[in-house]
């Protein structure tokens, strides 16, 4: 554990020193400030921020995850020649990357919320769920990044694969889902749809946050089903378990490959 923390600190330090990480945090700070300053209602601001969180957090996490993996890959020899288990090196670096990105996001987004929206008490719950969703997405997409990068010798190929995965989950998947809904519109689809949504961590995070915002009514009948399911504490639990599984799964795949590969 002590070794893992030492490695995580090192990997976090690299990212924290990076100009990009600061820009990333600053981006959310500006964004949320602007929305609060110009928007009429904080609730609308939250919805707009939500869209950007769902798009930007996964993208930046997966790209920075791949880049930081390759940066540390270069001196892997130095670390792996030390008396330390490979899994410790892998998880330590993963923790360092994801915690620093999550911190940049949470500080960036949290600051203007604290400044503008704190007096509206009900907003703090929304902020919490927004932060939770964003932090989950950070851990999930950095895990994807590591799982991809471990198996790919070439940095550009890994970046390509990472961006493809992001594009697929952020944009293509929902299109396919719509196709399925249209094709089987005469069947009761709610339950299979719940399953299909669980397969995309972005959708799970989106629904989790939207339901908290109480705009589920906008989603029609399906929305009502989701509200019934996700709105309950059971649904919240299931969604959290689902998101946790999406952190653990790619991480386990990555760690296994890391333990077997040659350096």
């Amino acid at each position: 554990m002590r070794q893992m923390i030492a490695l995580a600190r090192q990997s976090a330090r690299e990212l924290m020193r990076s100009w990009w990480t600061a820009c990333y945090g600053f981006f959310f700070m500006l964004l949320a400030s602007a929305l609060f300053a110009f928007g009429e209602e904080p609730a609308q601001a939250v919805v707009s921020v939500l869209d950007l969180v769902l798009l930007v957090v996964p993208f930046v996490s997966i790209v920075m995850g791949v880049l930081s993996f390759y940066t540390s890959r270069e001196f892997a020899e130095l670390l792996l020649a030390q008396p330390v288990a490979r899994a410790t090196v892998f998880f330590g670096q993963y923790l360092g990357s994801s915690v620093s990105l999550a911190a940049a996001f949470a500080l960036g987004l949290g600051a203007p919320f604290a400044w503008y929206g704190w007096n509206a008490r009900e907003q703090s719950g929304t902020l919490a769920v927004l932060l939770l969703g964003g932090i989950f997405l950070t851990f999930i997409f950095v895990a994807f990044a590591y799982a991809i990068a471990v198996r790919t010798e070439n940095r550009l190929k890994a970046l390509g694969a990472a961006i493809f995965l992001w594009l697929f989950l952020a944009l293509v998947y929902d299109g396919l889902l719509l196709g399925v809904i249209m094709a089987f519109s005469s069947y009761p689809l709610e339950k299979p749809l719940l399953g299909l949504i669980a397969l995309n961590p972005l959708d799970v995070a989106r629904i989790l946050i939207l339901l908290r915002l109480d705009v589920a009514a906008l989603m029609g009948y399906t929305g009502a089903v989701f509200k019934q399911f996700f709105g309950s504490s059971l649904g919240l639990g299931v969604a959290s378990v689902c998101l946790t599984a999406w952190v653990v799964l790619p991480l386990a795949v990555g760690a296994k490959a890391y333990a077997r590969r040659d350096f």
């Binding site: 002590r2 070794q3 030492a6 490695l7 600190r9 090192q10 330090r13 690299e14 020193r17 940066t71 540390s72 270069e74 001196f75 020899e77 130095l78 670390l79 792996l80 020649a81 030390q82 008396p83 330390v84 288990a85 490979r86 077997r260 040659d262 350096f263």
Partner: protein, 236 residues
């Protein structure tokens, strides 16, 4: 004591190691020589546990390196070309490695003095020259006084003075009973230092013995010529 038993390793269609069985003894300097791509670095990396052999095993003081990372407590490794986190200074690097090893400090002073590294210690690694990085890599590998030293081309990039100093230092370590394993392509240096030379060719041990034995067997005046003669012989 390092023992390798029937090591085999392929990278795609290339056979890097083809059944190597060796025991590297303490109190001796053992050098691995051979043409480019003979498997020298792969052999060393297997011993450190950076590369896993397809078959065969490596034991360090009786423990299997692929199963027990604790073996590496007794091991110092100097890679062929050392890379470091570029933003850190040498001092921060020492601290990081101490942190990972869970020790308060190591003894870096002796080699820092030997190489005259003192004033480079606070500069970020990215500003250091290739030779200085190499020295830093040697300090990092030796600062915890490991029983076994595995060095891949340790004098590459070093100026003649540092190179000489390092050789004298290695001789002192040998006298202290350390197990020292080098890979080098500078045969004159190998001849000067080694108690035992292992000549690898196409992933196999082609010759294993004292430098004097190689020259006697081939009837050549120097080890370099003896090795060259063996390579030519092989070609026929």
């Amino acid at each position: 004591m390092v023992e390798a038993t029937n090591l085999k390793k392929r990278f795609g269609s290339i056979t890097a190691l083809d059944g190597i069985t060796l025991a590297i003894k303490p109190g001796k300097i053992t050098s691995v020589v051979g043409p480019n791509a003979a498997g020298k670095s792969t052999f060393l990396r297997c011993i450190v546990g950076l590369v896993y052999p397809d078959s065969g095993e490596i034991r360090i003081a009786g423990l299997d390196i692929s199963r027990d990372w604790r073996c590496r407590r007794q091991l110092g490794y100097v890679p062929q070309s050392a890379r470091f986190p570029e933003g850190l200074s040498a001092r921060e690097l020492f601290a990081l490695v101490c942190d990972i090893r869970g020790v308060a400090s190591g003894n870096s002073k002796e080699l820092v003095d030997l190489f005259g590294l003192e004033e480079a210690l606070d500069r970020p690694v990215r500003q250091l020259s290739g030779g200085t990085r190499q020295k830093l890599s040697i300090v990092l590998a030796t600062m915890f006084d490991p029983e076994i030293l595995v060095m891949d081309e340790p004098t590459a990039g070093l100026d003649p003075l540092s190179s000489q100093r390092q050789k004298r230092w290695l001789e002192r370590e040998r006298a202290r009973g350390k197990t020292i394993l080098l890979a080098s392509h500078i045969i004159a240096e190998v001849e000067e230092l080694s108690d035992r030379v292992i000549f690898l060719l196409d992933g196999r041990v082609y010759f294993d013995g004292a430098p004097g034995e190689a020259t006697r067997l081939t009837g050549q005046p120097t080890l370099e010529r003896a090795i060259a003669a063996m390579m030519e012989q092989q070609r026929w």
